[in-house]
Amino acid sequence: MPITSKYFPSQISGERVFLLVRRHWIIFVAIAFFITVLLIPILVLIIYWLNSPDIFSGTIGNFVIVFAGIYTLTVWGLLLYGFVNYYLDVYIVTNKRIVDIRQKGFFRREIAELHLHQVQDVDARVEGFFQTLIHFGDIHIQTAGERENFVFQDVPRPYTLAKEIIQLHEAQIESEYEPQIVHHVEKNVDDYRPEDYVHPQLGESVEANAQPKVQEATAINEANDEESEGGIKYLEESYNPEEGQELLQEFGDKDQASVANNQPADEERGFDALDINKQKKSDQKSSEMFEGEEISLDDKYREI
């Protein structure tokens, strides 16, 4: 189940967290146990003091109180250190990358990232009696290139996690190689095939989603047709054969003059003068703009 809200500080917008894994809780219990063992002398001291309070009277009592206060706070502080080290070590798997955050003490923090498409192999290792009994172990993620392998240490359910990472990697690869439909706004309606939008898993729901797009294209095409007809009609009405002859005569004279002066052909200058070249460039530019507007199936899936 993906987590849609922002879950960790460096999370990118739109990035969904699928796995957030810490080391197995038994690791912290082991750390806490060894630290708590250090509190045994304090407990002994308290019990001793409750049974015979007179023993700690005088100068020795003052020493004991100060020592006990310092010792207890030190042990408590070590527990905080252990907790920070344990709890801020996090392995995060999102729909885009794997993030390995390692907290080493208060002043050392390492963050390594690996894109899911760089994953080559994932294997889980459970070694030893306790790991087998309590179901925790290491996951080794082999990466493409010369990068160091990622190792998730002492994580719970390593086999299941390894399988989930492989599935996410495969999903990432599939989404990268999905066909993308690139179209112009002026594309013929007949070229829209609903089956282009049918997802193998989602089926008809995507096809239904394609219908408004087809209607939109129909409306644009009809508007373009009306505009073109209006333009032709205007040209037909405003065309004056005499003016046309004069223009042709004028360009003819300029062509002869340009040959004599070794200038560019009059057609070029003439087209430039008539802004036809500019118009062509403008058309090309707008065409490129439309080509840049890609509609990918991937986006469709996310919307559904």
């Binding site: 809200s5 922002k6 879950y7 960790f8 500080p9 957030l20 100068t59 009592g61 003052n62 020493f63 109180i65 100060v66 006990a68 206060g69 310092i70 207890t72 706070l73 030190t74 408590w76 502080g77 905080l80 250190y81 907790f83 920070v84 709890y87 801020l88 996090v90 955050i101 907290q103 208060f106 923090r109």
Partner: protein, 68 residues
């Protein structure tokens, strides 16, 4: 004996700075809905309890200025 109190308060100042660093890490690098905030609260409560108990115990005793 007063030197013991001085030593304790110097330690206490260092410990509080250390705790601030630790709690800052929990606050800064904690994630939404995790245990960092409850852990911070528990840590502060226990720390204050230990300090208060120690100070009460100290206040109940006499601290002559010299060792005797």
């Amino acid at each position: 004996m007063i030197i013991l109190l001085v030593c304790y308060f110097i330690f206490l100042a260092g410990f509080i700075i250390y705790s601030i660093f630790g709690l800052y890490h929990l606050w800064r690098f904690g994630y939404v809905g995790d245990l960092t905030k409850p852990a911070s609260v528990i840590y502060i409560i226990v720390m204050i309890t230990i300090i208060v108990f120690t100070l009460i115990a100290m206040s109940l005793r006499s601290w002559p200025p010299s060792f005797s």
